[in-house]
């Protein structure tokens, strides 16, 4: 089963390497990893999606915790959380079919962020299944390029609001 881990780390050079290296050498698979600063510039937040059974996830968490730069780790999967991913898709869009594409974009509450001579770039955010759906809806037009951010996630409500440790 896929688990979403929220990992707060020291915002220092080399931390990402330490984390990625740990996954590689212990044979765990990272499904997706997204990093960015938090409201505290000394702390970065990583959202890591890992696939594995409970034993694997337990080991992943414990091994991550052993890294000196890891401040706090939460397995969001065990609580209520919101997650989002963002996608940019460049599709073929001759002027004749732009209307059709715009309809799809509307349905998914996505946005067109660039129009070229024969292409458009569409931006969408949502959970993984929505992103997958918009991607397949646009596929028939001919996808030129796709880029996805990987998942970011946050637990609902007050819990874990404060990451000071």
């Amino acid at each position: 089963m896929k688990h979403t881990l929220a990992v707060n780390v020291e915002n220092r050079p080399g931390v990402l390497t330490r984390i990625a290296g740990l996954f590689a050498r212990r044979g765990y698979n990272i499904d997706s990893l997204a990093v960015g600063k938090t409201d505290n510039p000394l702390i970065s937040r990583m959202t890591i999606v890992v696939d594995g059974d409970d034993r694997v996830i337990e080991q992943v968490s414990k091994q991550l915790y052993k890294l000196i730069d890891v401040i706090k780790l939460t397995d969001l999967t065990t609580e209520e959380y919101v997650d989002r991913e963002m996608i940019l898709i460049k599709v073929n869009a001759d002027p004749a079919i732009r209307g059709e594409i715009m309809q799809i974009v509307d349905i998914f509450r996505a946005r067109i962020v660039d129009i070229g001579k024969n292409t458009v770039i569409i931006e969408a955010t949502g959970d993984e299944s929505k992103i997958n759906a918009i991607e397949s809806a646009l596929r028939p037009f001919g996808i030129k390029e796709v880029v996805r951010t990987g998942r970011i996630a946050m637990s609902r409500g007050l819990k874990n609001k404060n990451y000071k440790s």
Binding site: L67, D69, S165
Partner: protein, 565 residues
Amino acid sequence: MGITGAQALIKYLEKEGVKYVFGYPGGAVLALYDALLESKLIKHVLVRQEQAAVHAASGYARATKKTGICLATSGPGATNLVTGLATAYMDSIPLVAITGQVGTDMIGTDAFQEVDITGITMPITKHNYLVKDVKDLPRIIQEAFHIASTGRPGPVLIDIPKNVSSALLEEDYPASVELRGYKPNYKGHPAQIKNLAKLIAEAQRPVIYAGGGVISSNATEELRELAERINAPVTTTLMGIGSFPEDHELSLGMLGLHGTPYANYAVTECDLLISIGVRFDDRVTGAIQKFAPQAKVTHIDIDPAEIGKNVTIDLPIVGDVALVLKDLLKRVGSQEHHTWLSQIQKWKEEHPLRYANDDQLRPQYIIEKLGELTRGNAIVTTDVGQHQMWTAQFYKFVGPRSFLSSGGLGTMGYGLPAAVGAQLAKPESLVITVTGDGSFQMNMAELGTAVEQKLPIKIILFNNSYLSLVRQLQHYHCDQRFSGVAFTGNPDFVQLAESYQNVAGLRIAKKEDVEPVLQEALSNGKLTVVECRVSEQELVYPVVLPNKGLNEMVHFPADEGGRYE
């Protein structure tokens, strides 16, 4: 007016109580060596290869519980540390390794002798640092010592660029270490300790399985008290040797691949396994699904990541072994296990550790005699091979920090440099290295270091002109097709020893030589190499073959009515 980074480093090392730095100089550490000259408290020990500097620091650390220090230059100096760091990491040895680095303006340019040593050593250090600004140096040194020696100990590397060691700084040592991501948990959970006490009260056939964690947390007294109070036999891992006196009637010796038959039977039959400071290495467990099949398995360890890593644990306790055992002792009453202990006694009588004690010169006999002559009162380092297993089996260790061996990584070449570190740490102690001709040749240049430091180390060298533990593997797994394991170019080790100033070279060629030659070696007050000419055909028994359970071990052939080859 400030001091340079290099001077600050030396000052802080002094503050941390460092007495020896094991190292090897180079262009990137000139400033550090220069500053070292000024120190009255720290002595530099010049090794012959940087790997030996880490092993020596590790021997020092293991003999004393203090943090060992080694120093190397950038590039090849730094990469030569890798094996030693990995060795220390696997065995949880507290070390601080300092490397020189090219100037910060050159980093990333493939400059002369540049290597990304923090990148290289990430998986084999507990933590590491590249110091980019001299202002960070005091904090980093303090953090490094703190991280290396607390929680589950381990090696920490500090990489210091050339310009950082010559830069001036005003900063002083911080008042305390503040690491928000590092807070080891020392106190075991009271409810869990209570549960363990309950399991102990209910057990009929308990076994204590003790590892290196008992020694690194200085918990041997507590272990002994627990074992005696609840009358549970104690088996140790290779790293746990010395955590429980092997002349004690509750001692089962070592378990696992080459463990004692009675330890392996006891673990297979026990109903409660009290695992303390261990990591369920595959060399200990044999086939994992056949390991302690009837037992409730409990595990005490400072490192939460060790719990449940290899074996499902019924009752985990995270904490410092000594503290947890102290708490546990408040809750357990005395127990008798007559039936169980008499079963164990029966196994001990039926399946003692055996070897062919005939008129041939047998390595096991030499080890046994060495144990008798020293009465266990020595620090014994080993290399890796059959000689290591025989030392673990036949030398009766009675106290902690007396058996120093590379357990986790199995590093040949560990023995002599580790002995150098141990002998410097304990000048009054008798320090012995047991080695094989293969292992010895990996770091025999360290004889020079020992000579220079005037260390009266005793080197017991089993020369069979073979890499015989590998030969043994080929015996079982390759149908006796022996490939790449014979040495035909060995030197005359006695002459080699004597080519150094004031080193004795002695030889044992037959059984009658053993006592007199060992006695001479132990009493001559000199660095001594004792070459023992032994047969390469000797095999280590018992042995647990792959996919077998511990109780399915291959016994010494004569035990099963077979013929000894």
